[in-house]
């Protein structure tokens, strides 16, 4: 659909969000089965497959796959879980490793040839993860600090002059209980959304000026487009990793905050 509109006109048109993200069903008639849905399921299967291959029968002396996946496990444990959860880290490693690997594979789908669509750029996927973490956060907070204690610790951190609470408490309430889950999801979604648009734009520039309308003047622009596509693909891979890390880290932070109100 998008390719057709580009071919039809004579002028270069940057790809619109609607063209890039509003994808038709793969099988006509099966409305729910779109590319993001397929990739989300494939990613889940890929994560399970990789983890199963590495951790189903783990060896004391690891093989190659186990070694690589252990590297990921160590990274999540040492950089995500332990700084916020301390001695509780091992209990929550299952959740945090799932979050990190799943989000990372969802993101990395954006640069994998043929797939080339970051699953997390559809807000539904970050939203379910952030929503689950939010529910867990509130549940753990009430369980470990008491229903009243949780809100008290959240909105009235001790050791401040009384008038400050007039200002601080509504802000704390808003940021922790209303805004946090949205920023948690939107941060990941927006990064993937913008990244995918950038990549699409630069590859479209390259494709348009080098293949569709090859002119002596336009060729230079096309080359820049190709170079920028390569550069931004590398940059995107970094961002995709970073956002997966951040998403898991924030989850760890929220859980840690509910378990121990001091942090």
């Amino acid at each position: 659909m998008s390719a057709l509109t580009v071919l039809a006109s004579d002028e270069f048109g940057a790809p619109t969000p609607d063209e890039l993200f509003n994808l038709p069903p793969i099988i006509p008639g099966v409305d729910w089965f779109t590319k993001p849905v397929l990739l989300a399921m494939l990613s889940a299967i890929l994560v399970i497959g990789l983890c199963w291959g590495a951790f189903a029968n783990p060896k004391i002396v690891p093989g190659r796959l186990q070694n690589v996946m252990e590297y990921g496990y160590m990274f999540v444990r040492d950089q995500v879980a332990r700084p916020f959860l301390g001695k509780d880290a091992d209990r929550w490693m299952g959740l945090l490793l799932t979050l990190f690997f799943l989000v990372f594979i969802w993101n990395i789908m954006g640069v994998i040839p043929i797939a080339q669509f970051p699953v997390a750029s559809h807000i539904a996927f970050p939203a379910v993860l952030a929503g689950s973490i939010y529910v867990l956060k509130v549940y753990l907070g009430m369980k470990h600090q008491g229903p009243v204690g949780y809100f008290k610790n959240l909105m009235f951190p001790p050791g401040l002059p009384k008038p400050i609470y007039l200002l601080l408490s509504p802000i704390e309430f808003l940021s922790n209980l209303i805004i946090a889950p949205f920023t948690h999801a939107v941060r990941l979604f927006a990064n993937m959304f913008a990244g995918h648009m950038l990549l699409a734009f630069f590859s479209m520039v390259g494709f348009w000026f080098l293949f569709e309308k090859l002119t002596p003047l336009g060729a230079g622009v096309g080359v820049i487009g190709v170079v920028m596509t390569i550069v931004f693909t590398a940059f995107e891979m970094f961002i995709q990793f970073l956002q997966a890390f951040l998403f898991a880290m924030l989850a760890s932070m929220y859980i840690g905050g509910s378990l121990h109100p001091d942090h």
Binding site: N22, T34, M41, I48, F55, P58, G94, L102
Partner: protein, 183 residues
Amino acid sequence: MITAAKLLAAEGAANPLIPHTFELVVGIFSFLVVLFVVGKILVPRIQKTLAERTDAIEGGIKRAEEAQAEAQALQRRYSEQLEEARRDAARLREEAREQAAQIKAELREEAQAEARRLVEAAHAQIEADRAAAFAQLRAEIGRLSTDLAGRIVGESLEDEVRQSRIVDRFLDELESSSAQAVR
């Protein structure tokens, strides 16, 4: 732009901030499946293996330390034994030397005693020989003298008793004078 906005409004689902219902379902489903398989089944396994590996490494280090301590103890024992053996050897050598010296001294003592005995025997022999020679000489000299004197003096000196008395006196004088001369 207006047409684009209209299009967005018309399609409804195009607002990227509105999640698709089926995507929510697929998202939560895949999350829960991965959480169950990876989080509940696989992560405990790798945690167990990592703990075992830590144990194995720590155990290995501990075993190595034990082996080293044992080796050091063994070495200490060996050097102690060696030292003891050296001391024993030195002691035995010392004893042997003492015994040798003692034996040498005894042998020397015996040899000296033997020599002394031999010398004394020789002295006695010489003394006896001298006495015998002296006695014989005395008799001989006496007879020769009397013979000589008899010949000079004649028959007056034939009387046996007088003769021996004269000879004895003469010899005693001779002996005492010679003893004085020796002194």
